[in-house]
């Protein structure tokens, strides 16, 4: 008979802890919480101008409107009007100048949202327009940046280019992406005694909301408590942005001395908050006859929006991933955060990584087509080596490279070579429809690239019945972090998962936390919770060995029991005994990631504790009359180390892939000439729907993997990396565009590859092929 095991320990594919509540509607989100009596509803009046001085604000009529309790402008903020996470100077309400269409100018709290809106409608604001900067090109020309440029160099790019047998120069763009978390931004601020403030916020970063709210209210941080049980999706959009929402609610609540809720409706949310950065890449590359990349000089310019927010780190991460899996002997990378009069772009799953990675995937694809080889062969040719050719542009040695073996496995499983041949012959026969196929690898660096953020705390209590209360600094946004960390604690105590109570993230329980971001939630909080559990466990072992007079080494926790020498007792009974013996059954745990460091000025260091890998193969079918397409098959192989919960990890991989596919296909943000975003609701902004799922979708965890770095149970981070597996979809579309012109020219395609962009790329490729242009000069489209 097998030894009894606990239910829901590490590596068990248990359901999300809230699954039952999700399907019954019983899971409580911030907007579902009962409102305290007297709660006011807030509405934000947004700027209709992209860039203008505020000449005059007249709120007199609005103040007299029925139900209005408080109106605040920048001048009414008691403390500093600044929620900048990296650089100072990022206001929540426009301080005399509006910087984008959608910028909050003032906020109104009233007895209902309707009353607040009605009051907003009679506010009079006079503006004096100033010229706006809207595009990356304009910003580059005007040297309008939100942060100093970042550069990385290895070898000598200029010399490498000069010596290379072939050179190409190009320009390429990718669009941004709205997070489209289903739950919009929301916060409820409840005034407490002593002028304190309780803030219930849908946030990935409670400590940031706490700190910024305190700053806005001119109070010490201890005066603000922030709590979040769960979010209805975050994806990075609730890392810094909630400080604006909670800040406005708190300022209104402080002024009205009543609770205030601010829930942005979808349109206001999309007009106000930042998104994934769109990027412009300009590159010059040198390569040899085989397609070996010899030298690269590339500029990556991101549209940051009106303030820095997290853009400096996002541009950094774009550079950190502009190598992806490829060794570049002589390389120079430069990154710019362009200041524009648009929403301040922010964190979004991948955090610049996807844009940098896709830029080099586009380049490798182009090189392969120029040398007339299959792009997969050229990818493999350029992969980092394991012992040589393994140093990144930022001088970190890649020590855990498994991409070659993963590629071989997927190439075989997906029958890449055979399908390539089939597709080529199918395309020759088919006039209207064309197929495309591509494989794309992913290597994603894990750790916050700002060293001090790589820390986490946890708080664990054991009660006298053996039930456990778990708290840590991580937040739940659907990714299953709470479940995984609880599994770690259950494993540690060897008790069933059901005995571990997951609790809301609260700044009063675990302080000074980092955002749940950078895919690091489980790595950091899992380790911290394990440390707390181990602390209690060691006290229990000490107690048991004394109490039962056995050696500490013969105390063993297994299957809800504790074995002490020859006897065993239920875990709860031991806890009760220990309590009576006055043993402390509560502990905090702390973790900081070792080994990492980075010198941004020099562009060298080891920013990443380890890398997560993945590879995907995608096949598409394209309609050359309209540019419409279908992803017909996708094969994904992804490395999560030793999985803490394979079901949850699989969900992250599949969900990330589809989200990435949305970014690269149908999700198009469109601003008009005045700088107004016109795609600000699902009627106009199209994230993937169920039908967009590839009908043939094969997804596997890479089972042979275990993290070589000492992470929690040797697992790997999984939140962001799989998003970039969707690069394969975009590359497959590009391949099909090439096929539409019989592969006679290198196709030019920007992202997102909407049906329109695909059709225009086909028309362009065919026109160039017809003109018998032997070799395209640049890869810029449109």
């Amino acid at each position: 008979m097998a030894e009894p095991r606990i239910q829901g320990g590490v590596s068990a594919p248990v359901p999300h802890d809230s699954a039952h509540k999700h399907v019954t509607g019983e899971a409580i989100y911030t907007d579902d919480l009962p409102e305290p009596p007297g709660t006011l509803q807030a509405y934000v009046l947004m700027s209709p101008r992209a860039h203008a001085r505020i000449v005059r604000i007249d709120t007199e009529t609005a103040r007299a409107m029925p139900g209005v309790a408080a109106i605040v402008t920048a001048e009414d903020i008691p403390g500093r009007n600044d929620v900048g996470p990296i650089f100072p100077g990022e206001p929540i309400l426009a301080p005399g100048v509006v910087e984008y269409i959608g910028m909050p100018v003032l906020a109104i709290a009233a007895t209902s949202v309707k009353a607040a809106r009605a009051a907003a409608a009679v506010v009079r604001i006079d503006y004096e327009d100033r010229p706006p900067v809207l595009s990356i090109e304009e910003a580059l020309a005007a040297q309008s940046f939100v942060c100093p440029p970042h550069e990385m160099r290895r070898g000598d790019a200029a010399r490498g280019l000069a010596r290379a047998p072939h050179r190409l120069k190009g320009e390429w763009r990718c669009g941004g992406q709205d997070h489209f978390y289903l739950e919009g931004q929301v916060a409820l601020a409840v005034p407490q005694e002593d002028g304190d403030m309780l803030v219930l916020s849908s946030t990935q970063h409670p400590s940031e909301v706490q700190k910024m709210t305190a700053r806005l209210l001119d109070r010490p941080i201890h005066a603000v408590t922030v709590e979040v049980r769960r979010m209805g999706g975050g994806f990075g959009g609730k890392e810094t942005q909630p400080a604006i929402i909670a800040g406005i609610a708190a300022v209104l609540a402080a002024k009205a001395r009543r609770p205030v809720k601010l829930r942005l409706d979808r349109d206001d949310d999309m007009m106000i908050t930042g998104k994934r950065h769109d990027f412009l890449a300009r590159y010059e590359a040198g390569y040899d006859d085989d397609g070996r990349l010899l030298a690269l000089d590339m500029v990556l310019a991101a549209r940051a929006g009106h303030v820095a927010d997290l853009s400096p780190s996002i541009v950094d991460r774009a550079l950190f991933h502009a190598d992806n899996c490829y060794f570049i002997p002589d390389v120079h990378l430069a990154g710019y955060g362009c200041r524009t009069n648009t929403q301040s772009n922010t964190a979004f799953r991948g955090f610049g990584g996807p844009q940098g990675m896709l830029a080099i995937e586009n380049l490798i694809d182009e090189i392969a087509r120029r040398v007339g080889r299959d792009p997969l062969d050229v990818r493999k040719l350029n992969y980092y080596g394991t012992d040589t050719r393994n140093v990144t542009p930022y001088h970190q040695t890649v020590e855990d490279n498994i991409i070659a073996e993963m590629t071989a496995e997927l190439e075989h499983d997906a029958a890449y070579a055979a399908r390539r041949r089939e597709i080529d012959s199918w395309n020759r026969e088919s006039s209207v429809l064309k197929k495309g196929l591509a494989m794309a690898p992913v290597k994603f660096g894990i750790s916050f690239t700002t060293q001090f953020l790589n820390q986490a705390g946890a708080l664990v209590h054991v009660y006298t019945d053996g039930s456990v209360h778990l708290n840590h600094g991580g937040t739940e946004m659907g990714q299953g972090l709470m479940t995984k960390v609880a599994q770690v604690v259950a494993e540690e105590f060897q008790i069933d998962l059901a005995r571990v109570k997951i609790s809301a993230t609260n700044t009063g329980k675990v302080p000074n936390t980092s955002a749940t971001a950078a895919s690091a939630g489980s790595d950091l909080n899992g380790m911290a919770a394990q440390a707390a559990a181990r602390e209690i466990k060691s006290r229990l072992i000490g107690f048991a060995s004394t109490h039962f007079k056995v050696a500490p080494g013969s105390v063993r926790f297994a299957a809800n029991r504790v074995f002490v020498g020859g006897r065993s007792l239920e875990f709860g009974d031991l806890a009760a005994l220990a309590y009576k013996a006055r043993v402390q059954l509560s502990a905090t745990g702390f973790y900081k990631t070792p080994l990492i460091h980075y010198d941004r000025d020099k562009g060298t260091g080891r920013p990443f504790f380890y890398f997560a890998y993945g590879i995907a193969a995608a096949e598409v079918l394209v309609d050359t009359l309209t540019g419409e397409y279908k992803v017909t098959r996708a094969d994904l192989l992804h490395d999560v180390g030793r999985s803490i919960n394979p079901a949850i990890d699989l969900g992250q991989i599949e969900g990330g892939f589809i989200q990435g596919m949305g970014w690269l296909t149908t999700e198009e943000l469109w601003w008009d000439k005045s700088g107004a975003l016109k795609t600000h609701a699902p009627s106009t902004y199209k994230i993937p729907a169920a039908r967009d799922l590839p009908p043939d979708f094969r997804v596997r965890l890479y089972e042979r993997s275990e993290n070589r770095a000492e992470t929690i149970h040797r697992s790997k981070a999984v939140g962001e990396p799989p998003l970039m597996l969707a690069n394969s979809v975009w590359l497959a579309l590009k391949d099909a565009v090439g096929a539409a012109a019989e592969h006679r020219v290198v196709p030019r395609l920007d992202a997102p590859a909407t049906p329109e962009r695909v059709l225009m790329a086909i028309e362009d490729a065919r026109a160039r092929a017809a003109a018998s242009e032997p070799q395209p000069i640049a890869a810029s489209a449109e």
Partner: protein, 484 residues
């Protein structure tokens, strides 16, 4: 006269009587604020994300209970009078056991953040009742109006297939009392409701309607409400007096003669689909891409016409098929070709006090070639960048009549007269199609907007005509993608 009715309906099996709320209160707001049933979520307030999905249940014409998903975020509360409103909180058994749909969702790991989940559960609940052995295609259609940002949908589709593993009956099937209780709530004369100084009428006959419109000619007419709802939730407009057409049986009739099909203006797109599919499969295909099931369960054929949107998907195929529209006013009926109904951007031939009563579509006869194509960024639940409908009459290989209508190319749904002229009396060949395609450039001056550039609209308009030719002449076998 007094307007004193209360709104009466069943909510998760319990009778509710509502008074004193604004008649343009959405079902969603009612649930969340008045009932404190917060399982139903607002994701967009425009019927495009599905987080607010609930199910309306009522006996169909044969006395069988139907279960239809709707978007509660844009549905006004008085319109559910007399029906059974089922929300995600109402699915569990009394002993707490999960509904087969809910259990399948848990077992398939089909929720992550959980915010969209109640909506998916309700769409699947409607499917579970409607279809006992669905194919993947049925599931995709049932879920076309539900967006999930976390899972990537694969586990949700697995749940949809797995939800039949449990019991074949649920508590709703077993509760025979609902039918009688709904019957007792049924009204003989229409609902007349007032709340917060606003009035709401739901007449049950054209005579009642005429009476109301005579007294309140300024009243706003509400059909399916899938656009009207947005006037409230997005534009934040106030409506003092609303007349809902959804309870008028005479407007909800579909009838067929030897030569025509007549569809009442109040027929929902869900109910219109079978007859359209039967006679014009291509039209049926379009209707299956017309928004989503929850929208089609509310939205009406008449509403899509009277709304006069340049990007509505109903008018182009209807115009191409020589549809006439009948308008009904105090002075009686008048009938006109549908293309003459659209005067200018959002301006129609409707006079004050008139309503769209029905459309009349000639049945296909020998020699008719018809197809309609829709272009959008996303296949499901998207608004057309271009909608192109072609109806040609071919005799002996020669085009004898041509009707081409486009949406998204002008301020109204509009015929392509020059392209039509370029086809008539010509052999139906790719060469002719190319000539006519060139004429399309002179027919239309499309705009650049966030759905598409003018250039894309022009190129694809031409190419869709070419596609029509390829498909109807058999010149290309492989011209369409199967979006399964």
């Amino acid at each position: 006269m007094s307007v004193t009715d209360t709104i009466r309906f069943l909510l998760n099996g319990q009778e509710r009587t509502v008074d004193g709320v604004d008649p343009t209160t959405t079902v969603l707001d009612y649930l969340r604020t008045h009932e404190r049933l917060c399982g139903t979520k607002e994701g967009c307030a425009e019927g495009d994300c599905g987080a607010c999905t609930v199910v309306l249940s009522e006996p169909d014409d044969n006395g069988v209970m139907s279960y239809r998903a709707i978007n509660s975020c844009i549905r006004f509360l008085p319109t559910i009078d007399g029906k059974h409103l089922i929300t995600v909180e109402g699915l569990k058994d009394a002993d707490g056991a999960l509904h087969p749909v809910q259990r399948a969702m848990v077992e398939a790991h089909a929720s992550q953040c959980g915010f969209c989940t109640p909506g998916f559960v309700m769409s699947l609940f409607a499917l579970w009742h409607a279809e006992k052995a669905p194919q993947r295609e049925d599931v995709l259609q049932a879920l076309a109006g539900n967006l999930c940002r976390c899972t990537g949908y694969r586990p949700i589709l697995d749940a949809a297939m797995g939800m039949y593993a449990g019991p074949a009956e649920d508590k709703f099937d077993r509760d025979y009392s609902t039918f009688g209780r709904l019957r007792r709530l049924a009204r003989i004369t229409g609902l007349r409701y007032a709340g917060r100084g606003k009035e709401f009428f739901a007449p049950r006959s054209l005579a009642d309607l005429a009476d109301i419109l005579r007294r309140h000619p300024e009243a706003d007419l509400l059909a399916g409400g899938t656009d009207f709802g947005l006037f409230v939730t997005k534009q934040h407009r106030e409506f003092a007096r609303v007349v809902w057409l959804g309870d008028i049986a005479e407007l909800r009739r579909i009838s067929a003669t030897d030569t025509h099909v007549e569809i009442g203006a109040g027929v929902t797109w869900t109910d219109a689909l079978p007859v359209l599919d039967q006679h014009w499969p291509s039209f049926g295909e379009l209707v299956r891409r017309f928004a989503s099931p929850p929208i089609r369960n509310s939205a009406t054929v008449g509403g899509n016409i009277a709304n006069a949107s340049p990007i509505g998907d109903g008018p182009p195929p209807l115009i191409a098929l020589s549809t006439t529209v009948t308008l009904l006013g105090a002075d009686g009926e008048r009938e006109m070709p549908l293309e003459e109904f659209f005067l200018d951007y959002r301006r129609t031939a409707l006079r004050r006090g008139e309503i769209v009563a029905r459309v009349r579509i000639p049945l296909p006869t020998a020699g008719l070639e018809f197809a309609v194509y829709k272009l959008s960024k996303r296949i499901d639940q998207d608004i057309s960048a271009v909608c192109a409908a072609f109806a040609l009459r071919i005799a002996g290989g020669i085009v004898t009549d041509a009707r081409i209508a486009f949406g998204g190319m002008a301020a109204t749904p509009k015929r392509a007269r020059l392209a039509e002229a370029a086809l008539i009396d010509r052999p139906w060949t790719l060469a002719t199609a190319n000539t006519a395609a060139a004429a399309l450039d002179r027919d239309f001056t499309p705009l650049d907007d966030f759905r598409a550039s003018a250039a894309y609209r022009r190129i694809t308009a031409r190419n869709l005509l070419r596609r029509f030719c390829l498909e109807t002449t058999g010149a290309a076998q492989d011209s369409r993608i199967a979006y399964g």
